[in-house]
Amino acid sequence: MNDITRDLPQNVRPSITAAQSTTRGGLFHNEDWWSVWVGLLVVVVAWSLFASGGSIKWLATAPAKWTDVAQAGQDLLAHLPNYAALFVVFALLFGTALFVLKQRLVHFLPAFLILFAVSLLIFETAAWSQASRYNLEAPLLALLLGLLVSNLVALPEWFQVGLRVEFYIKVGIVLLGATLPFTLLVWAGPVAVGQATVVSLLTFFVIFFTGRALGLDRRFAAVLGVGGAVCGVSAAIAIAGAVRARREQASVAITLVVLWAIVMIFVLPFASHALGLSTGVAGAWIGTSEFADAAGIAAAQTYGDIARHAGGAIAGAPDAAVQNFTLMKVVGRDIWIGIWAFVLAWVATTRWDALEDGVQVKKVDAGEIWARFPKFVIGFLLASALITWLASAYSLADYRKVVTPALVAPISTLRTWVFTFCFLSIGLTTRLRSLSATGWKPFLAFTAGVVVNIIIGYAMSAHVFATYWDSLGHG
């Protein structure tokens, strides 16, 4: 082993063929595309069964409300075949994707079995009639349990293969698309983009210039800035690659995103409650001010669950929190990551100092815009368009009476399962000791952006566009 490769994990070399390293791509090469295929396959199968008079209701099972443990036990036993079938279907879908992505199935399957079983227990706990009194909402429960376990117990390496946070959240977002009317996306899109653009640009420049004032390298400040302004870890990686940042700069940015994102999962729902925000406004605020899709969905779903059990004390439909979060975060912020990467790559190449270690950037490629585009958004839009087209044949009354219970509600149940896998995986992958030491300068720069982001995001969601987000929440 030479001096270059000796620090890498065993059996791993940076040595593959040149052809392999540069020409791979296509529709099965990353988790984004697989989330599209998995999500759309579920939607199409559900739709086909619905069209032939059936439904996926039998498969899309979730624990019923219970008041005593014996009742919960009976319900669990009665539905064991449903849960077993559900596990097989999820394992088949996710396993196929991860197998093609060269993950080890022999590790994934047992890891996913554990994840599924614990998610079921979390579902059961959240179905307790008194759960809301103790804030035992499923997302928070999954997150806290995961955090506790991963920081107290050394989890085996093979188990990590089952903890695919990003993959699960992307599949869940595609399924979410099937429950939102396409007209809503078209109508909400411009406002979401407008609000997100203002907040993203402000946040980026606050972090970037604070970082520069504190003496941080331009590339580092840019990675921190976009990590805080656009889509968290994905943005940090995209921009680190685009500006050729150093590895530890990406690590520090990611650490700050993870820490603040987890803090905000708890802060934003309870702050929204304290401020008396409707579910629609809270969803837009969370979408503007959370740093990662998975963290934002956890926060928005928590607020939706709080509203569901608040007996009408919180205005708006419970599902509006996740709906408006997704419109703001996915449509308003995530889709611009390729543009950010391209622009910053161009600025870094043409305006900033050359890299001190002699790495030369040949060219800035506009293909970056598409290469880094979050493809799962396409699945989200297609799923929405498909269900909207189907629903157009029904009157509103028939849609609520026929389509919702047999088609939309079961897809929503499957989505909730996938989100629960995601929330549990967040906790189980967040090992605080393994995160990078950030240093106070990056921390200060990023935190300045967090403060601006929260305040401007709140002002725009709860004041400037409050009526608009409220109206979506009541729709």
Binding site: V233, G241, S251, D357, G358, V359, K362, F373, L435
Partner: protein, 82 residues
Amino acid sequence: MSLAGKASGVESAASCHEPATEQRCAGCRHRLDDRRVIEQSVAGLAVFGSAFGASIGASRLCVLHDRWVSPDDFCVRFSPLG
């Protein structure tokens, strides 16, 4: 795992001439292409992100410079794949 130290002693000046295609990072043994190892090498990456997603594009880690590189980048420390 400390990759940072590997960048020490690297020549500061690169060739002004563009190398042939086969001499770019894509064909260099210092470019770490295994996405599982990238996730293990960047603290926190798998918590809210992924090396298997679209956002990483073709960017990969150069273990010599401890820096993100693209396939068409190059430097004087190019070393062909074994």
